[in-house]
Subunit: 153 residues, 2 copies
């Protein structure tokens, strides 16, 4: 797979305008992931259509990861998750993007990755749904903090 | 979850000696992942028992990611995968480590994450097993290149 595959670029959903945008600069976009069972899930998407971290220059990689770390810091401070999951996969959409996913012991997939099959235990689901409602109330503060912190970088 | 949870530290499987070691320095270990259906799967494990990237100093984070990028570069050069997957999850073992996983369109989970359920299609499995044998023959070259490149950092 080359990073300049014109066919992929033309049809790439991450090359177009980003919905749910929290912050952007000339190089990347930070978006919230809505309609997910994982509150506070954020994606950081590189603007240029490249597939891998090693398609970027060293300066570009550092810039991207600094943004990832700043968002992780705020996810931890505001949501206090049990764990943060970071992943750059891109198998479905080979356009460089990072998943930043707060995780809780009660969430639907813990301790597995969010891409594993979820649990079907009704008791766990019920407890998680109450907890997720509480987390949802903190999301506006997270989103504001991300936009403010990155703007002041 | 605190990064200095003594109970976790005492029972942490990543705090002990690393099997399948390819390279190490004072801060981290690079190991090969054996018994995996994904040829060339490498883990980079931080020595100190911390859970998250943002538990590290900026200098430590940069050192860790430079090693990740060097390994990714060699995985791409020697194995020519269709994609690289990078992930720091740690839900099962909250001791900071990176998964570096070469992926191929024919592999048992593509285009899903490796943590998703695999395919059961016998034709695909047969084609992949032939391809995986060819890749296995290239693994000694990958492992040598990783050790040499990191030693010469």
């Amino acid at each position: 797979m080359t990073s300049t595959d014109a066919r992929l670029h033309a049809t790439c959903p991450l090359c177009g305008p980003a919905p749910a945008l929290l912050w952007e600069d000339a190089h990347l976009r930070v978006i919230r992931v809505d309609n997910t069972p994982f509150p506070g899930y954020i994606r950081v998407i590189w603007r240029r259509h490249v597939a891998e971290m090693t398609d970027l220059s060293g300066v570009e990689r550092d810039h991207l990861m600094q943004v990832v770390y700043r968002v992780e810091t705020l996810q931890r401070r505001i949501l206090q998750p049990d764990k943060i999951n970071l992943a750059s996969l891109g198998n479905q959409v080979p356009h460089l993007h990072w998943h930043l996913i707060p995780r809780w012991r009660a969430d639907p997939c813990f301790p597995d990755a969010i891409w594993a099959p979820g649990r079907d235990d009704p008791a766990t689901q019920s407890a998680w749904q109450r907890w997720a409602q509480d987390l949802a109330a903190r999301l506006p503060a997270l989103y504001d903090a991300i936009a403010t912190a990155l703007q002041n970088t």
